[in-house]
Amino acid sequence: MRKICHIFTFLCLMAFTSCEVEFDFKELDGAPLFLLDGNIKTEPDSPSTSNFQMYLYAVPSAAGEREFSEEARCTLKVYKNSELIDTKPDITIASFYGLIAEEYPVNVGDEIRVTAESDGFPAASATTVILPPPPAAEASCSMEGGNLKIRVSFEDNADSDDAYALCFRKIFSKSAPLEWQVGTSLDLSFENSSASSILDIGPFDVSWEDSGRYYGIFDDGFNGSRKEFEVTAPFDPASGDGDPYFRVELQRISHERLRYEIACRDKGSNALGFIGLAPVTFAYTNVAGGSGCFSSVNSGFTGWVKVSGED
């Protein structure tokens, strides 16, 4: 009997031993890489000039050195239709996390390529094409129970697969705002809408922040037809100095940008993937040899509309 008790005790001890096992990852590569996150943006007031904006990050390998030398430098090159148009040498890797901004003369259809090179890094390169302007949008709005009810529509091109981003902007002004005035973006609310979704993006595919809240959508569901959105945003017309005005910025954007933003959002919600119980969500990238996204944007705006009272 005593033997049986000993065996039983031994089995119980084994069964309740900590079930954790620690081990090393031997296969991880030690090389760092570049993450490029930028776009080249064309606006209606200067269609032959584009604003180039890029964040360039040097990302250490998980298995290698986490710190970069103060002397380490990166060279960024910009090509237009394979012709080198700009070189930015001596970008500090160790401490640089700023914005690289420039203006380049471009035409619709031009191919813009950027490369980032540094010793010890794989060369990173990405290409995008200057997009045509977006279609003209029509927008109207009215106040409804503390919310701004917005209606916006535009016609999609049937001959191409397009991607769009919308930004709903407001401004307070004592006189009619000028066209160049940007205003600030509105966050939409989908809480009480039939098009509501847990991700709070309503009828859109994704939303992201880029000096304003943008809502992106592929033209899958309305390819070649006129698309009308009816959305609401919390809005207090008395919260500013002057009369409230509203307008919509409609961007034609690269497919790559939308895919990238969707993948980044999904990657942030991948807890099971982190522990091997689900597929890992890979961030889409169009950067060869690196990570991130380089894309093209062409913006259009509706005119400023004065926000009227309740219907």
Binding site: V21, F23, P60, R265, S269, A283
Partner: protein
Amino acid sequence: MNRVLRAVLGAFLYFFSITVCIASASQTALASAGVLQVEEKRDSLQATKPSVVEKQDSIVEAKISAGKYVEEATRSQTGHKRLEEVDFIYGNVVFSSPDLIKAIQNLPGVNSGTELMSGLYVHGGEGSDNLFLLDGVPMYQISHLGGLFSSFNTDVVEHLDFYKSGFPARYGGRMSSVVDVTTRNGDFNEYKGTFMIGLIDGRLQFEGPIVRGKTSFNVAVRRSWLDAVLVPVIALANRNNTEGETIGGTYAFYDINASVAHKFSDDNILSLKFYHGRDKLKLKLDTQQTSSVYGEGETKTVHDTTNLHTDVAWGNTLASLDWKYRIRDNLKMRTMLYYTGSSADVRYFWRNKEFDGVMTDNSVDETNYSRINDVALNADFSWLPHSTHDVRFGASYQFHIYRPSRQSLATSNGVQDEQSSSLHYLGNEFSLYAEDEMTFWERMSLNLGLRYAMYGVSGKVWNRVEPRAALSVECCNGVDFKVSYTEMNQFAHLISTTYLDIPTNCWLPSTSKIAPMHSRQVAGGIYCRLPHNFRLNVEGWYKTMDNILEYSGANSLFPPLDTWESSFNKGKGRSYGLETEFGWRSGKVALTAYYTLSWSQRKFDDIWTDWYSHRHDNRHKFTIMGNWKVSNVVDLYASWNYNSGGWMTVATHIYNPGEVFDRIYTKPNNVNLPDYHRLDLGANFRWSSKKGLKHIWNIGIYNAYCRKNVVFVAVNERDDKSLYGTGRAIFPIIPSFSYTLKF
């Protein structure tokens, strides 16, 4: 000298026809037109000696019991294994129940995954790429309790045929393997049964005649009582909990196999079969807390109540009417009308009520329903136009109804946000097939087959032609060489956002945007029956897979129904390797060893530009099993399983300028997990009473040396910034006990 044993008897299932070429045993049995002749020339290998149990030619009574391994070696198919009762009744006893799936997992070329993700990953395929047939009826959910118990009750199983390559043309609809389970009809002459009681489940099986010699029944019921075991455990846990938390949980499964068979004559049998299995899981966590909060110059008392409930129920129902009829002496028919259905209901409920003078009430109630129902009519013919030709042909029509749906209701202080999404597909699948097993020069057999499948859903029609060919050549005495080529298509996709075998996964059909999965496979090997009851088989394969799916998106237990066609990356896979089987048996001892060297890879252009390892790319797999019949009272068994670790994806680059970009993944499945191994031990003690009752006591130990096999892994960072993994094992050593009474 007669060297071919050709026995074509009215088979009980699938009009069983066997072509057995025995070089060394040199025996011949010819069966035709009600005549069975057995001529014995030499008996050099005891293990390969065929024997005729009953000399009758009917589809009921005649049985040929040739050496099992001879039979396997002389079939033209590669990659085929038949498991009979003796193969699964002893070993693989987890929580005291013999398990068919665990027996298959031991075989070479099959990766079993890890606990929680346990399944059959055959020649690089996924767990959902296997066709499971229970008496010819497809079964969608093949396990209970996350793969710990299979849905097949071994009390009624007669045998199973497992194909991992060289698929005969009569099988189709899945890409990687076929598991064809055949159950027994009830005894036509006497009543008998089995009763088993184990630690967490019990079984009862009873069979016998309804009309003696004409009609029989066979009923088997199985149920777990983990729910009863958990009641005192949970009560104890709640009694010690002083923080206002109440936990609750219950789990149970049951399944029923029932059949009635009627013999109009020995060549005309009608049977009705039924299976129903169900799992139910309920979990709840309720918290009630009262706290004091100081704010706005006063102290407020806050009452907080949170309820978190999860209810899950899932299972299968199968029913079939099966008619076997001999039309002419050389032509037999099997016609079957069947229904198979699978369902899974998952409800998640969360509610939080807070009162601090003002009541706040938020709740989320989500329910996911997943249904698939098939109705089908099959006709299968077996025709023997000549002694060297065994022709099978037939047709099948299946009507599929796919119906997953999801409902969500979020309430926030009386404001309700209701969402629902559902999919409804009607699929029509029609297939025609023909195969001919030809024998040449007594040493060679060739199986040529062709299968045509048409699948229509939502206006889209997919047409597929699947060639099948298998060649077997007897090189010398006891040594056979085989080679095969097969193509398979799969029109049903198991949609899952995780790797877990959970009921939120749902089946959906190929559509205009999702092409059918398709595999091509070449396999070949040498099969040797050596002197002194040794056998050695070596087989290799190369397999490609197209149009396979891999989820890419946010984690959610519920697959995205509205966008499922665009939420999965489309890619391809390949697998190749070499598998060996070595065996020896004597009168009392049987030893079997399997070794597999394999590669399994994937390529999804949207994820990675090159081939990468599949998560179950286990380079080496080794299994050794032994049974020792010590005496008529005691038999012992042991098995040791080893396989190289699987793969998982770990961030290759880490930085943290913002929340989103903190991890960069470059190559999928880039790190190797620790190896998996475990030892299972067991013993059976038998005793027969004077009244003819058989008593069997079984004790077993699963994972005898308590190996911590990793199921999931947390990625951590040391002080020196290096990464390491912390793997979690969930199944330590598990002792089991059961008592079985056969009456």
